[in-house]
């Protein structure tokens, strides 16, 4: 679960989405490197369509205001 101090909303995340958010919390990243970091953090087991999952999580986070695009 995660609490957004900006909006006061509480969100329930699945394990993979939580990994994505945790990775972004450490430092900003572009999508390909974020996918690589999340995949590395998950270890050797097979995770189907990790790229699709990470991209969907980022999109959802953006919609609810948990992440934003960093200035170039």
């Amino acid at each position: 679960m995660v609490f957004d101090e900006g909006s006061g909303d509480t969100h329930l995340l699945d394990a993979l989405s939580a990994e994505v958010l945790r990775a972004l919390e450490e430092f900003p990243a572009d999508v390909p490197s974020l996918i690589a970091r999340v995949a590395a953090g998950l270890g050797p087991g097979p995770v189907p369509d990790i790229e699709g999952h990470v991209r969907a999580a980022i999109e959802r986070f953006r919609e609810i205001g948990l992440v934003e695009e960093a200035a170039a």
Binding site: M1, F3, E5, G8, T10, L12
Partner: protein, 309 residues
Amino acid sequence: MRLGELPRRDLAARLERRGVDLDTGAFIVRLETPIAALVGEVQSLYRDYPLDEGGGLADFHVAVVSPPGPLGIRRWWRQQATVILDEDRPFEPLPVDMAVPMLEWSINWCAATRANQYVMIHAAVLERGGCALVLPGVSGAGKSTLCAGLALRGWRLLSDEFALIRPGDGALDPWPRPISLKNASIDVIRRWAPDAYMSMPVPHTNKGTVAHVRPPADSVRRARESAMPAWLVFPAFEKDTPPSLTPMPRARAFFRLADCSFNYPSLGIRGFRTLSRMIDGCDAYEFRYSSLDDALGLLGALPLPTPAA
């Protein structure tokens, strides 16, 4: 001194002139009323409560008075009662017969709208063996019936309406007050505990017929003893249903709990951390029941919680 030790005439005089400060555990409530019909019920329901004679500040000031009639004079025909909370009159006047439920609802309202030093959950709370059982629930879930049933058979009552969670350490502060029963629950509890004192049932309130059960004296005596939450049980009364106690995932319990909170949305990260800690330290269940005997047996056998990984 306890309220019940005051002779009725003295109590009536004090209630009318300067009020009495009741030590109800989490809060000191200053109660004033000139309504004679209310004095007897106050004396009976709050018999075991210590009077705070220190002359200090009360947390809530609740006055139940008769409003003037249309010509500005007190009327004796269809007499009404209204509540003054500090300087406010937040409720419409009601017939004077409803003064007891009105008083109780008003005290609840004070806490629900002001006591933001706590994370407040709409829940009954009881304790046994140092572990607190929290029964959150919307009206009609059977929370108060279950609460009265357990409190009158050995569980310590902390509250029938409010789980008052301290953000600092997650402990639950007791606020034992008269237990509010509605409609069919009144007779259920009369049969369950014929010796328990219950106020005169008041029909035709907006919740139906309402009566209040005096809390056990031991629960009032221990109203300063907090307890750590151990079990979160979401009750649902279902007639003629065999009892079932089904473990609930912690994440779902968190959101159910937040839904039952009076002030979670306004407390920000403090509320989130407090509820998270509570969820991590408790086992959560959904509980369906149709008889108090079943409930007493099942809830009395709850295992100690397994802390979250």
